[in-house]
């Protein structure tokens, strides 16, 4: 072990010269690699910073040294430490004439500086000069800096030079100039809007690489404004056709695919252009069909193009043949062992499902496999697919699965997302309200504090309103079941605050309504809640208000109320609470207990949470009082608009204080002496805790305000006593319809929702299919049952065929494989408008067609490329090139690497060397934080794959 350590160190030292770095830098890297903790690393870096600070200040630092310091600064900053003390030196270095130093300077400033940094002003001049340099490498370095450092204000300073470079002799420069212009367009479209035509022109550049680069800005431009680029469809189709026919030089091949990255960009652009456009889509049919036939699905990049074709087909108006091709490609993806391809398959399925919804059925078993896959990414993608294909027939299965998954993960971000999806699906497709409540309970229980508060309001509203029909019996059942489920859940530890609020409200409102539970039982539970979550004031507030309701209902119904001792002590505790809100509620409760039945009934009528509240905006009930006040000498009210206007009034308008109101306008004379205001209803106003600011001067007044107004109207003493109730009342009505209207009435009392659900499916889903047959207990494997319930496919002949084509390895019965019977060889089923075999096929796009020029150029360059084919061919056939490199092993380690090279060949699929020595060595090197290659021949085994 010790020996290995020294070998590693020697190696690192030995290569020192080759790396061109000083010993100090080497030591720095090494000591950081060896550090055992973040604190140790920080200490090392901090001392390095001290050294650099000192060295940078020394006079006459040699340039070569300076370069190294700058690199060390970059390294330090990458480790997360502030290197701003050295920025100015990096800036200075960009001014150097030496190419190496200049490039180092540019590299450092592009990594250090933000485009709005103060130091940029010192670089712009240099960039301008460098853009005009004779040395194209200097120009490239400057263009690189331009991309990163130029902001909206400095664009005009360099724009002319960059535009000139579009016609530079070197294609590398032209490419980068296009990219820089593209970057300008992203930063500030207006500054380059007059230059957009350059992109079109560059599409027919003599170099295919430049053309490929032009596709990037064009993609952006087209996604902003599809209509003005429609004329280019035929050009793009032509280019793509030529690329697929290998008209580009051989050097553009990648893993035997001709210019795949260009193909992908083209497909993306064409998907944009042909979306919803029949004639444009038709132009693409043939080339897309060709791609499906030509793409090599054994390589990663071939599959990338296939996936892009699927994506493209999902955007355009496809022909049936193309849809079939896409479906077939998807099934290949899904059947593959590679998780990456499965992922792409699921994604493709999610896209195609919008066009032909029965496509998913073919793959139901594969989809379920993905759902149970250990790969989280794949799982999430599959849930996304399920979310897209949810309908009322399968909502229960899907939402159940989602919730199970939601419970199992810790990632709050995704938990929130999936919780909101569950809620959305449940609201949209719920087969019954009972089910809905159960689902909501689960969501709240497990993701409570991540759920939007609106969801809680909706739930309470649903419980309060029931179906909105006159079926009181069903409503009561629903409420009872809600109460029962809550009483079960309530004793569980650590429930989310929001859920407790819902529980408290429902228990307060309906806990005793049915007579099944006694008031003391419910109030005991509520006291427990207030006790257990004593730090959560909101929950406590809800609990106290719920208690108040319980007692109010008891008093109103003439029963004698025994306040539980724990409840009594809770009230006493809250009377002295620091929270005014809680105090308020406690006092109200205390006051209520002393009232007689008739009064209580009018304060808190039974089940009145849904009652509409009429808001008397004019406050006509105050007329008498106002009249009285005016008669006794008060000034009449002047509306806000008539007063100064503009100034926002935040002071409260109290009905009693109309003198105040009038005095809100700007006054220049001295204030009058304060009159003792004698509110006639002092006792009631004391109950108004937080006066709502200026409620009748605002057009859009908050909802809670309006309710309190009307309360005041109906009964003075009722003020604020049941604010909670009103909050959930009418104001949030509107969205309720979505949940309840989609629910069929007969599902109301159904506990067995399956048959109901089936009914819904056949009535509401577009595909008439009796989906629940298969849900009956069968001897089928569980998976198939799940599949059936998910995909709803089960008229037996249909499902047989589909499942067999979906996954051959599955316990499928049928043999007739529809996909197989489709003649794959069928060349071009769709007649195309354009004749692509004819080289002049695009001549109908007039002589100005850029594509035509390009075509010619590419033809010639493909011939030119012939010379280099040998080299390329050699390279491409020699697949074992990286292995060869491993033979250049340090003699010291030849034995070691020999053994591990053996492993390398044997186990291509495993990661890391198998042999023990190799592992030990690996561990040692890792410990050092560095890893000389020759010791690790498996490093690039993936390259061989």
């Amino acid at each position: 072990m010790e020996q290995l350590k020294t070998i590693g160190r020697e190696l690192a030292m030995g290569s020192q010269g080759g790396f061109g770095q000083s010993k100090e830098f080497l030591d720095l890297v090494k000591s950081i690699g060896e550090s055992r903790s973040k604190a140790e690393e920080d200490r090392i870096v901090l001392s390095e910073i001290d050294i650099l600070k000192r060295k940078l200040l020394e006079p006459d630092v040699p340039k070569r040294k300076m370069k190294e310091y700058i690199i060390r600064l970059v390294y330090i900053e990458m480790l997360g430490h502030d290197a701003s003390f050295g920025y100015i030196h990096a800036v200075k270095m960009t001014h150097d004439d030496n190419l190496l130093l200049k490039r180092t300077g540019y590299l450092a400033v592009t990594l250090f500086l933000d485009e709005d940094h103060d130091l940029i002003i010192l670089i712009v001049n240099t960039i301008q000069k460098d853009l005009r340099s004779d040395n194209y490498l200097v120009v490239c370095a400057a263009l690189n800096a331009v991309c990163r450092l130029i902001n909206e204000e400095t664009i005009p300073a360099v724009l002319p030079q960059v535009v000139d470079l579009l016609n530079h002799g070197k294609e590398a420069v032209r490419k980068k100039a296009i990219m820089a212009l593209h970057r300008f367009h992203r930063k500030s479209p207006s500054s380059v809007s007059h230059l957009v035509s350059n992109f079109r022109r560059k599409l027919c550049d003599s170099d295919p690489g430049v053309m490929g680069a032009t596709l990037c800005p064009l993609f952006d431009l087209i996604s902003e404004d599809v209509a003005s680029y429609k004329d280019l469809v035929s050009s793009f189709v032509g280019i793509l056709k030529q690329v697929t026919e290998r008209k580009l030089p051989k050097s553009y091949d990648y893993h035997q695919m001709p210019a795949p990255f260009i193909q992908i960009k083209l497909l993306k652009i064409m998907a944009l252009l042909s979306s919803g456009d029949k004639s444009a889509s038709e132009m693409m049919y043939m080339v897309l069909g060709d791609l499906f036939r030509k793409c090599d699905s054994s390589t990663n990049i071939g599959n990338a193009i296939l996936y892009e074709c699927i994506r493209c087909i999902s955007c355009i108006i496809p022909s049936p043949k193309l849809l079939e091709d896409a479906a077939e490609a998807i099934s290949k993806f899904l059947k593959s062992d590679s998780h990456n391809l499965k992922y792409m398959g699921i994604d493709g399925l999610g896209r195609l499902i919008k066009i032909s919804s029965d496509i998913a059925e073919q793959h139901q078993l594969a989809v379920i496999d993905c759902l149970e896959d250990p790969d989280d990414t794949l799982k999430r993608k599959t849930f996304e697919l399920l979310y897209k294909m949810t309908k009322s027939s399968n909502v229960e299965v899907i939402v159940d699965r989602m919730i199970d998954y939601m419970i199992s993960i810790n990632d709050n971000h995704y938990k929130t997302e999936i919780a909101s999806r569950c809620v959305e699906l449940a609201e949209q497709f719920a087969p019954s309200n009972q089910w809905f409540i159960q689902i909501m309970n689960k969501v709240f229980e497990h993701a409570g504090d991540l759920v939007n508060i609106k969801v809680a309001h909706n739930l309470m509203r649903l419980i309060a309103e029931g179906f909105g029909e006159d079926d009181d019996d069903a409503d009561n059942k629903l409420r009872l079941s809600a109460v029962e489920s809550y009483l079960q859940i309530i004793s569980e530890p650590k429930l989310p605050s929001l859920f407790l609020q819902v529980i408290s409200w429902v228990l307060g409102e309906y806990g005793t309504a049915d007579g099944k539970y006694s008031a003391s039982y419910i109030s005991g539970k509520l006291c427990d809640v207030a006790d257990a979550y004593s730090s959560d004031e909101t929950v406590k507030g809800y609990a106290v208000t719920a208690l108040m309701k319980i007692y109010a209902f008891e008093i109103a119904s003439g029963r004698k109320v025994d306040v539980l001792p724990e409840c009594q002590s809770l009230i006493e505790e809250l009377l002295a609470s620091h929270s005014t809100d809680l105090q308020q509620r406690a006092y109200e409760l205390q006051a209520l207990l002393a009232l007689d039945a008739r009064a209580v009934e009018s304060i808190l009528p039974l089940d009145a949470s849904c009652e509409d509240i009429e808001v008397d905006k004019d406050l006509s009930f105050l007329n008498g009082y106002i009249q009285q006040a005016i008669e006794s000498g008060a000034q009449p009210y002047v509306s806000e608009r008539e007063r100064s206007g503009g100034m926002f009034e935040t002071t409260d308008y109290h009905s009693q204080d109309h003198h105040e109101v009038t005095s809100h306008a700007l006054r220049f004379e001295a204030y009058e002496l304060p009159k003792p205001s004698v509110p006639s209803q002092a006792s009631t106003t004391a109950l108004v805790p937080v006066p709502e600011p200026s409620y009748y001067s605002e057009p859009h007044q908050p909802i809670s305000t309006s309710s309190s107004v009307s309360e005041r109207e109906s009964s003075e003493i009722k003020l604020r006593l049941d604010g909670v109730k009103q909050k959930w009342g009418r104001p949030s009505y509107q969205s309720s319809t979505s949940a309840s209207s989609s629910t069929p009435p007969q599902a109301a009392n159904g506990t067995s929702t399956h048959s109901d659900g089936g009914g819904v499916a056949s009535s509401s889903s577009s595909k008439p299919r009796s989906s629940y047959e298969s849900k009956k207990p069968e001897i089928d494997p569980e998976k198939q049952r799940l599949a059936a319930s998910l995909f709803g496919g089960s008229s037996s002949s249909r499902s047989d065929r589909k499942s067999s084509s979906g996954g051959g390895h599955k316990p499928a019965k049928g043999t007739a494989n529809k996909a197989a019977t489709v003649p794959k060889e069928n060349p071009i089923p769709v007649p195309d408008l354009l004749d692509f075999d004819e080289p002049t096929g695009t001549s109908d796009v007039a002589a100005t067609d850029p594509f035509k020029e390009l075509e010619g150029l590419m033809e010639s360059s493909s011939q030119d490329g012939g010379g280099s084919t040998d080299v390329m061919g050699l390279y491409s056939t020699d697949a074992s090139a990286p292995v060869k490199t491993t033979t250049s092993v340090d003699s010291l380690l030849s034995e070691l690497s020999d053994s591990s090279r053996g492993t390398y060949h044997q186990s291509q699929t495993t990661k890391g060397p198998n042999s023990k020595e190799a592992l030990e060595k690996d561990a040692l090197i890792r410990q050092m934080g560095v890893n000389p290659t020759s010791q690790n021949p498996t490093l690039f085994k993936d390259l061989l794959g």
Binding site: L100, M179, H339, D922, I925, T938, F940
Partner: protein
């Protein structure tokens, strides 16, 4: 558009990080740490893709590849193709392998500026510029040559000699 390119070792030490939109150093560190913690918790033999909205904002995807002691990571938005990005990592690695003749973590640490040169030839301002590793090599070599010629400091890394024509 590509948002970031990262290389980090299996202990989470960043070896190269490039963000195509400016981010303050602290934010960069936070993202690197976040990415590492996600990657290190991934089991083997699963897909190379991740949806990473929680770190990089909506519609962010991440593709990574694990080579020996290094993770190569690309972060990009919905306008790129995941499988193609995986191949872009491949292009980058192939190029580095040619450049440093059998690349290893050490090469990446010590040839920081060269790494950036290679990367800048492949990805430019967040867009894929060049995917032919031979072309990238040519450009990098030319830069190295000129740099060497432009001054007496001979800093040609061991790399260039490692690339021999059409091996």
């Amino acid at each position: 558009m590509i948002k970031a390119v990262m290389m980090m070792n299996t202990q989470g030490k960043p070896r190269l990080a490039k963000f195509y939109d400016f981010l303050p150093v602290e934010k960069q560190q936070e993202l690197i740490r976040g990415v590492f913690s996600v990657l290190s918790s991934r089991p083997e033999n699963v897909s190379n893709f991740l949806e990473i909205d929680s770190l990089f904002g909506p519609d962010s995807r991440l593709v990574y590849k694990h080579y020996a002691t290094l993770y190569f990571v690309l972060v990009f938005d919905g306008s790129e193709n995941e499988l193609a990005m995986l191949d872009l990592i491949q292009v980058l690695v192939e190029t580095l392998d040619k450049c440093f003749s059998n690349v290893c973590e050490l090469d990446i640490v010590f040839n920081y500026s060269k790494m950036h040169t290679v990367l800048d030839e492949i990805v430019f301002g967040g867009q894929v510029l060049e995917t032919r590793s031979d072309e990238v090599m040519k450009a990098v070599e030319e830069i190295s040559k000129l740099e060497a010629a432009s001054n007496s400091i001979s800093l040609v890394p061991k790399s260039v000699s490692g690339w021999r024509g059409g091996r």
